[in-house]
């Protein structure tokens, strides 16, 4: 970058200096490292498990379990990502939307003998209604999404109890569970491919279209987006509605996988889903919510969990692993050695 404006040498010098002070190589190196850190750890972890318990960890059954067993969570992660990427951090109601969708499906299918396809549509429809309610209170009335969705989450849970009569409902039509869970391709249940398809659509829209780019601007700085002509409220509304719709799809997958639906369904999935989204923020495009990062994060966590189970650890290790991975992933890139030592030194000087 030889400065083109030679007629103002002083100014050019000044700018050159500024260029020199911008930490270009270190930044690039750090970003590079951070970008692929999870993948590197993922591979290392995979090799470690493969060496520790080769016969079970590398079995087809286990690999299919890792990929297929987390499909519901994976679809929910995609749902969580939609409002979150547009700056509406935390739609807590998505987990209970999943539960409501699954329960609506089950009640219609099992108790009212509705055709399973119609029941599925009704399930997704119920979830969409929750999304619309969120839009009404968050976007239209300009409320804090955390507080509103905390409320709608609780309400939807209550509604799920009402429609189920506080009972577990089962068993949903086997044709549903066949098409979701039993049939497989390359030994992996079909639901994994459904999740993959949803992922591919969302990935394409968010990362390879102007709409996705606008969503990103909106999520990063709402005011800039507004003054650039982005229809801020319309876009946020779609984030909530589509997010709820995808959560409804996750509910169908849940119903197909489990057969029997408990009124608490989905409640224990929402926090792991957020963990995966935020863990994904540290990968591929650091600092940004991105679908590919979330994809990797989900299966990183799934692999870790499966591996620990095979090693014979207790099931609570899964929770500890989730939490620790999330905290470590956002902290390690910031643990700047120099800064750490400088702080210590100034502390000693006092």
């Amino acid at each position: 970058m030889s400065a083109p404006n030679k007629a103002a040498p002083a100014e050019a010098d000044h700018q050159e200096q500024r260029a020199a002070t911008l930490p270009r190589p270190t930044l690039a190196r750090r970003l590079g490292l951070q970008r692929y850190a999870i993948i590197i750890v993922f591979i290392a972890m995979f090799i470690a498990f493969a060496l520790a318990v080769p016969s079970t960890f590398l079995s087809i059954g286990n690999l299919s379990n890792i990929l297929g067993g987390q499909a519901v969570l994976f679809i929910l992660v995609m749902a969580v990502m939609l409002p979150t990427i547009m700056g509406d951090f935390v739609d807590l109601s998505l987990g209970s939307s999943l539960g409501l969708s699954a329960m609506t499906l089950a009640v219609l299918n099992v108790q009212h003998h509705t055709n399973v396809a119609v029941a599925c549509l009704a399930g997704v429809g119920a979830a969409l209604v929750v999304g619309l309610v969120n839009v009404f209170f968050v976007v239209y009335f300009d409320n804090d999404p955390f507080i509103v969705t905390l409320g709608t989450m609780t309400i939807v849970q209550g509604v799920t109890y009402i429609i189920s009569g506080s009972n577990s409902i089962g068993i949903v039509s086997t044709s549903l569970s066949n098409w979701i869970f039993t049939y497989n391709f390359l030994s992996i249940p079909l639901e994994f491919y459904y999740g993959l398809a949803i992922f591919l659509v969302i990935w394409y829209v968010l990362s390879f279209t102007p709409v996705g780019q606008k969503a990103l601007v909106l999520g990063q700085s709402r005011e800039v987006a507004r003054l650039t002509g982005v229809r801020v409220n319309k876009m946020r509304s779609w984030g909530f509605i589509l997010g709820a719709g995808v959560a409804g799809l996750a509910g169908i997958a849940y119903a197909g996988t489990n057969g029997t639906i408990d009124p608490t369904a989905g409640g224990d999935l929402i926090l792991p889903a957020f963990a995966a989204v935020f863990l994904g923020v540290t990968a591929i495009k650091p600092g940004r919510i991105n679908p590919l990062g979330a994809f990797i994060a989900v299966y990183f966590l799934a692999t870790g969990t499966a591996g620990f189970q095979l090693l014979g650890t207790q099931s609570y290790i899964q929770q500890i692993f989730y939490g620790a991975a999330l905290v470590a992933a956002i902290t390690i890139p910031k643990a700047n050695r120099e800064r750490f030592f400088k702080k210590r030194r100034t502390a000693e000087a006092r």
Binding site: M1, A3, P4, N5, K6, A7, A8, E11, H14, Q15, E16, R18, A19, L22, R24, L27, F208, T209, P210, Q213, K214, L216, V217, Q220, S221, E223, V224, A225, R226, L227, T228, G229, V230, R231, G287, R288
Partner: protein, 545 residues
């Protein structure tokens, strides 16, 4: 008189301060007697705020400067937080009130912070004490109301009561008789009829025993409340007068000071002449404007009629094709609203905007519509409204044109990157790192990126608000050139709003002056000088209602 016997409340001797080669203050002496209200006047950049910041301990003066408070020498620089310990208290334009807290909480905030964290708060006695304080100053407010819900004038009064109360406590504690309340632009956003209530309060504060330093652009306010005025120009005290002995016209002349400003203007011109000789840069700018494409030679004129909002009363003007129209006005005059209203970023009450053959209702304008009509807004707050700090430079620059690079379901990221890299080159953005986050660039380079973002979207009308705020001289020069090139080569209509009147004189073809929300004067050709614009903006203050 006893004033002559008692030492002055505060005395400043030989205060100087330089920022780089710019001497902000040059041997300033200032004396404020006990019980006196002194007005400090001067244009933007005359050194008023630097002087206040030295008094409050934000800046260190150069060696040789002395400050005496109540006759006792105070070592400069003042350590932070020390000012309130020696009987100086400050109320700034932003008032430093927490809008979400109640009147009572705001009133006692200072004591909370100094009084240690674990002392029990007796809210009942606090309430009683606060009520007594407000009564003493004859300010009647609901102690439990949220401060943000108060009228602006009541917020100002609350801030002043709080500061005055600090001073009263100081006097009681030290047994001293001196104390100074510094009011920095307290009347800017206040409606006409409410200013008197503020003045009553200031008089009460003076009766209570404090001296007041009153800093303002509002000459009518200064004449109403002060005993004496001190005028700063180019960092020096140019006049000290008894307020009653001087009229507004004479004050304007003192503030603007024709000869000194003329010299200043000459210096500014030399900057701009130098840059035009920078052939390479000029060539790049020309390329940039040519790449802008089909807007070239379109040449639409703009007619704005009857714009009304809370601060603007029926403002109308025209901008010819290829014309740069400056809008001058002091803070609070409503000039700063115009670009946002004409873009639809804020809602006007009514008004019409004719752009070429189209007529738009300003009251119903939205940013989406404006972007579609290719109206560009470069806002003053570039970090919040201009560039998304976390996104990369290239994403920011191409934000407005990305739709054109999505064809057949494929997002042509390569094309956008190329476009951004060309813009980075032509708009001289340094360092030329397209992938670095926008927030890592210096103010000047961010501003150039913001100009690039809008100019590559081929605007028909370019609205600029303080486009060179916080920008170094080099970048400022570049920005002048970009805008001039856009206007002359692409026949773009430009609206340039700033309180830097020298800049308007430099770049604009015509300048309109707004005072109190009304278009009061138009300056063209020979009349365009910093001093003429300043005088016009100052003079009509509060004459027209």
């Amino acid at each position: 008189m006893e004033q002559a016997l008692a030492p002055p409340a505060v005395e400043l001797h030989n205060i100087s301060k330089a920022f780089g080669s710019n001497r902000a203050l040059d041997g300033v002496d200032l004396r404020i007697g006990s019980g006196e209200v002194v007005g400090l006047l001067g244009q933007n950049g005359s050194g008023k705020s630097t002087l206040v910041k030295i008094m409050s301990g934000v800046y260190d003066p150069e060696p040789g400067g002395r400050m005496l408070v109540g006759g006792a020498e105070v070592p400069l620089p003042l350590p932070p937080g020390q000012a309130s310990e020696i009987g100086l208290s400050f109320v700034y334009q932003n008032l430093a009130l927490a809008p979400g807290l109640t009147v009572l909480e705001n009133l006692t905030l200072g004591q909370r912070i100094t009084a240690g964290g674990w002392k029990l708060i007796n809210w009942i006695s606090e309430h009683r004490a606060a009520r007594a304080v407000l009564d003493r100053y004859q300010v009647h407010l609901d102690l439990d109301q949220k401060t943000g819900e108060l009228a602006p004038v009541d917020q100002a009064r609350l801030a002043i009561v709080r500061a005055a109360e600090d001073l009263r406590r100081y006097r009681a504690r030290s047994g001293g008789s001196h104390s100074v309340l510094v009011l920095d632009e307290p009347t800017v956003f206040l409606p006409e009829e409410e200013i008197d209530r503020l003045f009553d309060l200031i008089r009460t504060v003076v009766t209570e025993g404090a001296a007041v330093l009153f800093i303002s652009h509002d000459l009518a306010a200064v004449q109403a409340i002060t005993d004496r005025v001190v005028v700063l120009r180019d960092g020096q005290v140019v006049a000290e007068e008894v307020t009653a002995d001087i009229d507004e016209e004479a004050l304007v002349d003192l503030i603007v000071g024709a000869s000194a400003s003329a010299r200043q203007a000459a210096v500014d011109t030399s900057h701009v002449v130098a840059l035009v000789e920078d052939q390479r840069a000029v060539e790049l700018t020309r390329e940039a404007m040519e790449s802008v494409g089909d807007a070239a030679g379109l040449g639409e004129s703009v007619v704005v009629e009857h714009v009304v909002d809370e601060r603007l009363h029926d403002v109308s003007f025209e901008i010819g094709a290829g014309e740069i129209l400056g809008v001058a006005g002091l803070i609070g005059s409503g000039a700063e609203e115009l670009p946002y209203l004409l873009f639809g970023a804020r809602q006007a009450i009514s008004g019409s905007l004719r752009l070429g053959a189209e007529r738009m209702n300003v009251g119903k304008l939205t940013p989406q519509r404006s972007v579609r009509e290719r109206i560009a807004l470069v806002p003053a707050d570039r970090t919040v409204q201009g560039l998304s700090q976390g996104l990369t430079l290239w994403e920011n620059i191409t934000m407005l044109v990305e739709d054109e690079h999505y064809r057949n379901g494929i997002f042509r990221r390569g094309e956008l990157l190329k476009l951004a890299e060309d813009a980075i080159d032509r708009f001289l953005i340094r360092p030329p790192l397209a992938h670095a986050p926008a927030g890592t660039f210096s103010g000047g380079n961010q501003q150039k990126a913001l100009m690039a973002k809008w100019l590559i979207a081929r605007p028909r009308l370019l609205l600029l608000h303080e486009p060179t705020q916080g920008v170094d001289v080099g970048a400022r020069r570049d920005i002048y050139r970009f805008v001039k090139a856009a206007a002359t080569l692409n026949q773009m209509a430009v609206l340039w709003v700033t309180t830097e009147f020298g800049e308007l004189a430099e770049v604009c073809d015509r300048v309109i002056v707004l005072t109190q929300g009304q278009h009061t004067e138009t300056l063209t050709g020979e009349e365009l000088s910093e001093e003429a614009i300043s005088a016009a903006a100052l003079r009509q203050t509060r004459e027209v209602i």
